[in-house]
């Protein structure tokens, strides 16, 4: 059969986004082994459904499949249940001392920032990743995550507030 057209086309269109796919899966599963399983399954699934790909943004298409594959996997593997919840973050309203965030983030190593992101509950983490890592608009994120745009907005805002407080708290403990 040689290299059929479908395979060649798939490799050209979809495989360049493998790093983005892995990055998303890695942040969702929080470990390498499960991330590899999810990406492998997602890419093979994408290949099977490649005929239904209508053209357009292939990275968006692939990441949507990665996310869906992750949730299917996640439902099946309850032992990996991620149980974090967001606490009620203090809102930064006038009257609250604004934290010196600029200094904080520069002083924190990548590892601390990484850990802070990992503590975000799934639904907040994925919205943050799609926005900050992939640069997607609220509308695109709403499409991938299948929630209204307003929900994307509020999750993103809460995720960032959580990070800001968490990084500030770490700083407070260290000094």
């Amino acid at each position: 059969m040689g290299t059929p057209g479908k395979l060649g086309q798939f490799e050209q269109t979809v495989l360049p986004h493998l790093d983005a796919a892995y990055n998303l899966a890695r942040w969702l599963t929080r470990n390498d082994h499960d991330a590899e399983d999810v990406v492998q399954e997602a890419v093979l699934r994408a290949f099977r459904f490649f005929d239904t790909f209508q053209g357009g943004e292939s990275r968006h298409w692939l990441l949507k499949i990665v996310r869906n594959t992750f949730y299917t996997w996640y439902e099946k593997n309850r032992r990996h249940a991620q149980t974090e919840a967001l606490g009620d973050e203090v809102m930064d309203l006038p009257g609250n001392e604004p934290g010196p965030e600029e200094v904080l983030i520069k002083e924190h190593g990548a590892q601390t920032v990484r850990e802070a992101i990992q503590t975000l509950p799934l639904e907040f983490r994925e919205v943050l990743l799609l926005r900050e890592f992939e640069g997607y608009s609220y509308k695109e994120i709403a499409d991938i995550v299948e929630v209204p745009i307003g929900t994307v907005m509020s999750r993103l805002s809460r995720a960032r507030q959580h990070l800001r407080h968490r990084l500030a708290r770490v700083e407070g403990v260290n000094t």
Binding site: T3, L7, F10, Y22, N23, V43, P98, I105, V113, R164
Partner: protein, 249 residues
């Protein structure tokens, strides 16, 4: 606009999601409110920090290789019986890599696939050029004698007439850069060709099967030789012929 109203628009503002009128409102508030300005600055810094490449996890080379291989498998042979076995082998590969064994195992699978493709191509070429044999004979002894001095080994030429295969003759082939014997039989107007070449790794293996285009291939290694039975006959017939040859060998 007060500070609480601004709070709701701060992130869409930062992310460029507001229209011009909303942006003007936010700008107007920010210019007169150092607390909100400071907050915006913090989130801007946070957002920039999150874009650091250091926080990204790139896909590993091993995963990329494995995917390419699996995609080729999925593309060429959708209903492939060896698929589950490969999935298990892939899992083993990851673990075994540390002791340097996994890669070889993976390579062996790939080599088999390359061989299957090669023998099927050779057979299809020979038939389409009307040249199934270099030497035509129905006498096993004569065919065996014809190979003498042409190869470093003596390919077995068994009589398969009891299984309904009539010996037609033989030819010499180059398969994956090495010389191979092709012993040609016929049944019901279809060729069944047995490629014999020096095994890359000697030993005895179980019979394995594959399908490429319209051809079925049964293959195994016996001692220092590897055998590849190629035919358009149905898979069961090809497997039976392979089993018979293996017993005879």
């Amino acid at each position: 606009m007060n500070c609480r109203e601004l709070e709701a628009l701060l992130h869409p503002y930062l992310d460029g999601e507001l229209d011009a009128a909303q942006r003007r409102d936010v700008d107007a508030h920010l210019s007169g409110c150092p607390v909100c300005s400071r907050q915006l600055q913090d989130f801007r810094t946070l957002s920039a920090a999150l874009k650091s490449p250091e926080l990204r996890y790139p896909a590993g080379d091993l995963l990329k290789q494995r995917l390419k291989f699996q995609l080729r498998e999925a593309a060429g042979r959708p209903a492939r019986p060896r698929w589950p076995r490969f999935a298990a082998a892939a899992a083993v590969t990851l673990v075994a890599l540390a002791v340097g064994w996994g890669v070889q195992h993976h390579e062996a699978e790939e080599q088999d696939d390359a061989m299957v493709e090669a023998v099927v191509d050779q057979q299809a070429d020979a038939v389409s050029h009307g040249h199934p044999t270099d030497f035509a004979s129905s006498d096993p002894a004569a065919v065996g004698a014809w190979f003498k001095g042409k190869l470093a080994y003596a390919p077995p030429v068994p009589d398969l007439s009891a299984q309904g295969f009539a010996l037609v003759g033989a030819r010499l082939e180059k398969v994956e850069d090495q010389s191979a014997a092709a012993v040609v039989y016929q049944r019901d107007g279809e060729y069944l060709t047995v490629f014999v070449c020096a095994a890359t790794e000697s030993g005895d293996t179980d019979l394995d099967e594959d399908t490429e285009d319209d051809y079925h291939v049964a293959y195994w290694t016996q001692g220092t030789l590897s055998f590849w039975v190629v035919s358009k006959l149905d898979p069961k017939a090809v497997r039976r012929a392979g089993e018979e040859l293996r017993r005879a060998g």
